[in-house]
Amino acid sequence: MKRTHVVAAFTATMVVAAGLTACSPADGGGGDGTDGPVTITIVETKQTNIDAIGAVIPDFEAAMEEQGKEIKVELIEDILTDEQFKTKMTQQLVAGQAPDVLDIGESMAVGWAAAGYLHPLDDYLDDWDGWDHWYPEIQEALTRQDGSVYTLAGGASVQNFFVRKDVLEEVGVDTSQPETWDELIDRLIEVKEQTGDTPIVIPAGTAWGGGTWFEGFQPLLGGTDTDYYDRESGTWDLESEGWLPVFELYHELVSNGLLPVEDLQNPNPWEPTKYVKFPAGDIQVAAQGTWGWRFDWGPEGATPIEGLDEKVITWQYPALRDGDRTYGWINTGGGYAIPESSENKDAAMEFIKFLTSGEALAEQLAASGAASARDDLDDVAPYSNEPRLLEAGEDLAESILVVTGDGTDQIGQAVATATELILSGEADGQQAYDAFVQDATELLGPSLVKE
């Protein structure tokens, strides 16, 4: 045989062998590591979480080794926005190629659990005494429409208004908790007159994606009306009485020039608003979850605010209608999940239990800025050294939560489109509500709309 033929045959063999090797699992696969080495994968999309998870992986591997389990963890670092992550991971879930552990938000948890992409964790939780330490309201929030738990979140966030106290004091505006929206709007107008700024940012419009519903509209709606979703029938009540007042509130804020409309219509609207203007004091009030203390404006956050604790305070959401009270909004329902396609579910659950317990959880909460979802973490450092987060943890008990189900994506889409109409000046509150009802009815279909 000619020498070139030998080289060609060798090369071809190596290519085929390499291809077949790539197609085979990296290890034995399956199990919890007692029957041989198991490597699980987890994907994180935020640098804060990448750092926090990366720091605890060696501890987990060592803990497992002590228990006679050979589990290795591969951290996939993929910096993405939530929308990008959702789009990308949905494709991977459909293809059965998702990592073994996912760290996901509520909208993904609802949609993916309903689609059957996530593995129910009930059997694991029944056998684990750690689950008893979750606050009952968080357990309820994590329970999906079919009665199963698909995600485990060790932390929860309370959504409030973050307020630049230093700027408000400088222009002589009251910094005490406003009791009603009328009171708050009067103060915002006063700020606008003195500074020329658009003083408040609440997610709205299509550019903010799912955040318009989860961080903008729903906290406003849930504070004045908890009947918009009927958990028994799994349907959305589009005629529930809270929708219209919230659309009217958005319109009032826009027509008074209080919302940064241009920024909200930009791609990535959180960048000019939360990452530029709020830190600069040019936006004075921002709807924000607890993670603002760390992830957004903390010393290691996206855009640190020097002297954050002195300059920034929080207000609860004011009452929107007569009879309402001020409130915080619980933001949770996401957490760690295991894809149904994972071949390493037992090992993945071991990792999730580790991440949602003890010091590992305390470190993540302190890093990302979330309150504990468990009742046994207040004394565990470094979480115990974070008075803001401990305070948020106490607020959890008094905050509002409305658990929803299938259809959140469609509702989020219809709300985003309707609020976009308000931003662009094409609709007032009533017109936006009408457009929302029409859009949501079409998108949800008859089975998800309450008669």
Binding site: G111, T206, A207, P267, G407
Partner: protein, 314 residues
């Protein structure tokens, strides 16, 4: 009457009974199959089957998330009737038409022709520089081009265009908010100009110089020469370019997604953005597929019109 026996040899060859040809084709079909087979397989696997699957999806209520993802149902033409009655989808088609007409048909084609004609003139100096300058946008990857223009058109006073207008005392302008469609049209013209210029330059080189000279001798002006001599001779390449640029412009996604994401207020939600939002962001694969098929049909119709007008074989 001429019999086959009396006919010249060449004619006999031409009307020879088909049997020997069939024998030859029988001999050559393995090599033909070998040469065309891989292409046919690839086209079938990567184009025909996905297209057929896309048509099937468009007839179902397939979703990627939610309970509906578990059990997709055949729903006939419901997605099509929904889309054709949807103001959002029709608006996206309208915006696609606007984008296509001004950026591809008018902008790229006309300016590309002007650039090609100018660069074919002997008196123009610095042809290499101008040619290279026009070619640069085509070489730059789409993502890089988009990010560059996002920086140029940035709302803040630091945006390149705002810095330039600021030299004349103008306030900062939110270009991508105030003139979103104009912005993406200009960027697409900038990006596609080079290809038009190259195609038209090649076509102009094939126009016989003696025809131009003869018409000039007959007293035709430069515009008349172009209108009545040059243009009819390069009609084929012009319509071929129009066909290609129509297909590519209707499919433009990255440029618009990076610059405006279809906003503000849906003003730049061209069909490709609408399909992406529906199919991938909102996980409604059935509706997204139906929208894709409608767009495909529109492009096919336009393509047929171009081919008929050009009277060229494609």
């Amino acid at each position: 009457m001429t019999s086959l026996v009396d006919a010249p040899a060449s004619v006999q060859t031409a009307i020879r009974p088909p049997a020997p040809g069939r024998r030859r084709s029988r001999r050559t079909w393995p090599i033909v199959a070998l040469l065309l087979g891989p292409s046919a397989v690839l086209i079938t696997v990567f184009i025909v089957l996905p297209a057929v699957y896309g048509v099937w999806l468009s007839l179902t209520n397939t979703q990627l998330t939610g309970f509906a993802a578990r059990n997709p149902q055949f729903i006939g033409l419901d997605n099509y009737t929904y889309l054709l009655a949807s103001a959002d989808f029709l608006a996206s088609l309208g915006q696609t038409g606007t984008f296509l007409f001004w950026s591809a048909i008018i902008g790229q084609t006309v300016l590309g022709m002007v650039a090609a004609v100018l660069l074919s003139r002997t008196w123009v100096r610095g042809k290499g520089f101008f040619g290279a300058a026009l070619l640069m946008p085509m070489v730059v990857p789409e993502v890089v081009a988009s990010l560059t223009w996002a920086s140029v058109l940035a709302t803040s006073p630091e945006g390149t265009l705002n810095r330039l207008t600021g030299l004349f005392g103008a306030d900062s302008t939110a270009w991508l908010q105030d003139f979103p469609m104009l912005a993406i049209i200009l960027v697409n013209i900038w990006r596609g100009l080079a290809f038009a210029m190259i195609m038209f330059q090649a076509a102009l080189e094939d126009v016989p110089a003696e025809l131009i000279e003869a018409s000039r001798v007959d007293g035709a002006s430069a515009v008349q020469v172009f209108r009545y001599v040059t243009l009819p001779l390069i009609r084929g390449p012009v319509f071929l370019y129009l066909l290609l640029t129509t297909i590519s412009t209707v499919g433009v996604f990255g440029l618009v997604y990076f610059l405006t994401r279809g906003g503000p207020g849906g003003q730049t939600t061209i069909a490709a953005i609408y399909i992406y939002e529906r199919a991938l962001q909102f996980s409604q694969i059935g509706i997204g597929s139906a929208a894709s098929i409608i767009l495909l049909v529109i492009v096919l119709v336009l393509g047929v019109v171009y081919v008929r007008l050009a009277k060229v074989q494609v």
